[in-house]
């Protein structure tokens, strides 16, 4: 902003006293607020529809208001009906999703935290090379390597084995980078120096100094590992082909494919899987992530901006 006349000290003071800041025009603020609220509404409606859809019966979905609530019993009925699909394989999918993700979160969090610590504290060669390759892996989309990963997993005979998905998803460059920043900024290097002089090994440095200070970091790492993998589709889709190994997202895709609920190409079947049942399966995937997002909003911003905010 350039002004033609430089204000004298007096005028500045005067301006400050009488009018500390320029007032916003009412109309402008009205538009801003209306748009913010409008966008909030269109953000919520799809989720609301999904959550309410499973409470209704299939005919009610088209006869009643799309955002009307059916009954609590509707959810139970939908769950019961899902059991008819392939002898209750849905239970297996839920279990797979929980187990695979638990394994991924644990392995990813531990390996990333250790790696970040080593890059920040220990004296190792090729530090910069590690850091740059981690950043590159972090910035290229994970799906870019799916086909090459399949080619590799096929050679080592791990295709259709859940470990292929668990191990691949446990590579967590973003986590390693996050913990590198965390340890670089929370623990002063002098602390390591003096501990080393006292004869501490790297492992002791980690377990006695870094780990007790890592609470917030481990929460952050687990959070991002979970939200990044829970709804993952492409990689498990390529790696796992038998229904018993499916995760919930794969299962949902399979339900689309094999029931007439939303696929007009499938004729009538004896299995009672219709839109409310499909919606319930969708809720099982979307709701855990939504809850994680809502309770961890601060974490999300903090983590994604890590390495970028200057105080």
């Amino acid at each position: 902003m350039s002004t033609s006349v430089a204000p004298t000290e007096n005028t500045v003071k005067k301006v400050k006293k009488t009018k500390p800041m320029r007032q916003e025009s009412r109309i402008g603020m009205f538009f801003v607020n209306s748009w913010l609220i409008f966008f909030a509404i269109i953000s919520i409606v799809p989720m609301l529809w999904l959550v309410l859809a499973a409470s209704k019966t299939d005919p009610e979905l088209s006869s009643r208001n799309p955002l009307a609530f059916g009954s609590l019993k509707g959810y139970w009925n939908a769950w019961q009906n899902l059991q008819f699909f392939d002898n209750g394989v849905i239970g297996r999918w839920v279990l797979n999703s929980v187990l695979f993700n638990a394994a991924i979160v644990v392995i990813a969090t531990i390996t990333a935290s250790l790696a970040g610590f080593v890059i920040s504290a220990a004296k190792i060669r090729f530090k910069r090379t590690f850091l740059i390759s981690t950043l590159i892996m972090m910035l290229i989309p994970p799906v870019a390597l799916v086909i090459p990963l399949f080619v590799m997993m096929d050679k080592v005979k791990l295709v259709d084995n859940p470990w292929s998905v668990i191990l691949i998803s446990s590579l967590y460059p973003f986590g390693a980078f996050l913990s590198y920043i965390y340890y670089s900024t929370t623990i002063p290097p002098e602390l390591y120096e003096s501990a080393r002089l006292d004869g501490c090994s790297d492992w002791q440095l980690y377990s006695r100094i870094a780990l007790p200070l890592s609470g917030a970091l481990l929460g952050l790492l687990a959070f991002f590992a979970f939200i990044g993998n829970w709804a993952n589709y492409f990689m498990p889709y390529v790696m796992l082909y038998s229904g018993q190994n499916y995760t919930l997202p794969l299962g949902l895709g399979f339900l689309f494919y094999s029931t007439p609920a939303i696929n007009p190409g499938v004729g009538a079947t004896s299995v009672p899987i219709y839109k409310p049942e499909i919606a319930l399966a969708g809720i099982l995937i979307a709701l855990p992530i939504m809850i994680m997002f809502l309770v961890s909003q601060k974490r999300l911003i903090r983590g994604m901006l890590a390495g970028s905010i200057k105080e």
Partner: protein, 290 residues
């Protein structure tokens, strides 16, 4: 201590890349003589120009739409903090939980006039049946909107966070100089968060290029055949799993990896986002109150 992570990085980052490169010259039905012609063959595949057209069309909508709307939303949120701001931000993050298979389900419902929550709007536009919407030529728009809603909430929060990093003295000084909220947003705040905008643009571009799940699920499981080999990743998948041409599929994967790689290198070396100095000055534990 670095070993477990290093193992994963090499095994699932470096090794597949090397194996993919070695896979390319393998002899196959499409590449009977073998050799590096595989690159040429995959580019001249009859499905390649179609996929190129679709993905470019999709990105021409998705990338600018997301960039502009996200920045506008973040700047608007930052105009004035009230006790409602927190709830607005919570609302914006909700669609981020609807991705992949669930996004296909939800958008199928939204665009199905018989059950849609926006039934009346669809009817007003003369849409009485889903077949009016679900046509291959409309997919670039539909998939762009799906992808936008999946990603926008995350980025709104991130860019809002980046705005919180601007020192309050700068903002106050500008206000005292008589800046309106609009001028403040466009002339002061936007230039100061430039590097985050570049960062976002690079990631949106790289992600958009690899669009797969939405068209793949639509074409295999909802409207059969609506999006066969619609995107590059779908073509790559089809080459590998339908035609058994892993050389061609690998060649295409490598071609697609190049722009992503360039983008990554630009962010790393041309912005100071991941500069060591920046990192040392960062505190991840205590941030401006968000």
């Amino acid at each position: 201590m670095l070993a477990p992570y290093l193992f994963l990085l090499i095994a699932f980052g470096l090794v597949p890349l090397i194996m993919a490169i070695r896979e390319v010259p393998d002899v196959s039905l499409t590449n009977p003589d073998g050799g590096w012609d595989a690159f040429k063959i995959v580019v001249s595949d009859f499905r390649f120009p179609e996929a190129l057209k679709h993905v470019l069309g999709f990105m021409a909508i998705y990338v600018p739409l997301t960039l502009v709307l996200v920045i506008v939303m973040a700047l608007m949120l930052d105009v004035k903090t009230t006790r409602w701001s927190k709830y607005l931000r919570m609302a914006y993050i909700v669609p981020a939980s609807i991705s992949g298979a669930v996004a296909v389900l939800v958008w199928w419902a939204i665009l199905e006039p018989t059950i849609s929550p926006i039934k009346s709007i669809l009817n007003r536009f003369g849409i009485e049946s889903a077949t009016q919407i679900w046509q291959t030529k409309n997919l670039v728009y539909i998939i762009a909107i799906m992808a936008f809603f999946t990603i926008a909430g995350n980025w709104i929060l991130i860019q809002y966070g980046s705005l919180q990093s601007i020192s309050s003295e700068i903002i106050e000084a500008a206000r005292v100089d008589g800046c309106s909220a609009f001028q403040l947003a466009v002339r002061i705040k936007l230039p100061l968060i430039r590097k985050y905008v570049i960062y976002m643009a690079v990631l949106l571009f790289a992600g958009g290029l690899q669009i797969f799940v939405e068209p793949q699920l639509l074409t295999t499981s909802v409207y059969t055949g609506i999006a066969n080999a619609w995107s590059f990743d779908q073509l790559s998948y089809e080459l590998a799993f339908k035609n058994g041409d892993f050389g061609g599929a690998s060649a295409l994967s490598i071609i697609l990896l190049i722009p992503s790689m360039i983008g990554a290198l630009v962010v790393i070396f041309k912005t100071d986002m991941f500069d060591d100095k920046t990192i040392r000055n960062t505190k991840t534990t205590e941030k401006a109150d968000i």
